[in-house]
Symmetry: C2
């Protein structure tokens, strides 16, 4: 995971072993439900959060990892809701419009969240692109609306907004649309979860181990 | 928390109420151990992670919030371990050297992690500045070494590296040095925890509600 020193590699290896054992404890027999690539993503998320509960919370729908790998190989853009995610992704074509002047203006004028306005502004990039949402439920609801009402077709949606209001509901709604998606059950999620998932897929696309 | 629309504000208010109740459940009578400003920081962390367990994990040592507020008012620099944290902090003087060319070189030559090399490079800024570490235990150990061996005196260390290897130990070591600090007990932590804490302190310094 970017470690170049012996210390860095030792920590990564030890951590991987502990993470695998914690996941086994949490999943029990359910561990067989996941393929090797899915397990790699689950490991990354548990590694990034030190929270093994994520092994039970992650949901893979409509072949999302393979679709994501294909999209990355085709150099499709990634659209994210917050700059913290942009800072964490190891990929050149990442777009975040949350601080775009048009977004402030539209949000104020239309009485919508900046997160919603930022997804609306990114509509053309989202069509055929990858969406990664780690913070805002309203952004995820807007992307789902674009899919349902405006026939926008993202290659993959990583939808892991965090929080006790609307986050769970937005992720449930995501799992009901016919789009490749990776999401979490319940309020948990967040930027490190989002970054761990998409960096895992990017690593697969580069034929690296996740 | 940056919300400008009615929807955004409604979500923030509802969320705050739920977060407060969850914290009460987790802390029980221990809730009286924390003052108002500390509670504000705890609320921000639980809000950012949707994980009420953090109410039990956060440790405030040597008056860290007041020292942090003072340092922010004096416009002291903030030094962070990863760019995701830099992207999340609402403050102008934030430095991250993890991708600095010198850091790559020093890490390779001396067989240390890039995180360690980045803290060593930031030594003069760390003296009298604020350190925020949300990812790397080795970076935190290096800052502790600078304090102990090189008489470097940070105004505040927010030390919440995440992971199953060395993270707990690095935070225990932090709590043993005589520096204002905010940390977590155990493996949990991470960039959103770090950002929630320091943005809370910045908000206090600006006389905003946390």
């Amino acid at each position: 995971m970017g470690a170049i020193s012996k210390d860095g590699l030792n920590i990564a290896n030890k951590s991987r072993e502990i993470v695998r054992n914690k996941i086994k404890e949490v999943l029990g027999d359910r561990i067989n439900e996941f393929n090797e690539k899915e397990m790699g993503i689950i490991e990354r998320v548990v590694h990034a959060t030190a929270d093994p509960e994520y092994a039970k919370l992650l949901v893979f729908k409509n072949n999302p990892i393979e679709e994501g790998i294909k999209a990355i190989k085709e150099e499709k853009p990634i659209i994210v809701d917050v700059n913290m995610i942009k800072a964490g992704i190891r990929y050149n074509k990442v777009h975040c419009f949350i601080n775009h002047p048009d977004v402030y203006e539209v949000a104020k004028k239309e009485g919508i969240t900046r997160a919603v306005a930022s997804m609306r502004l990114a509509k053309d990039l989202i069509d055929d692109g990858i969406v990664v949402i780690g913070n805002s439920p309203t952004a995820l609801f807007e992307v789902i609306r674009l899919v349902k009402e405006e026939n926008i077709k993202p290659k993959l949606i990583v939808g892991v907004p965090v929080g006790f209001v609307q986050a769970s509901e937005s992720k449930e709604a995501l799992r009901e649309v016919n789009v490749p998606s990776i999401s979490t059950i319940g309020p948990k999620g967040g930027t490190p979860v989002a970054v761990a998932i998409i960096n895992g897929i990017i690593a697969y696309a580069k034929n690296e181990k996740a």
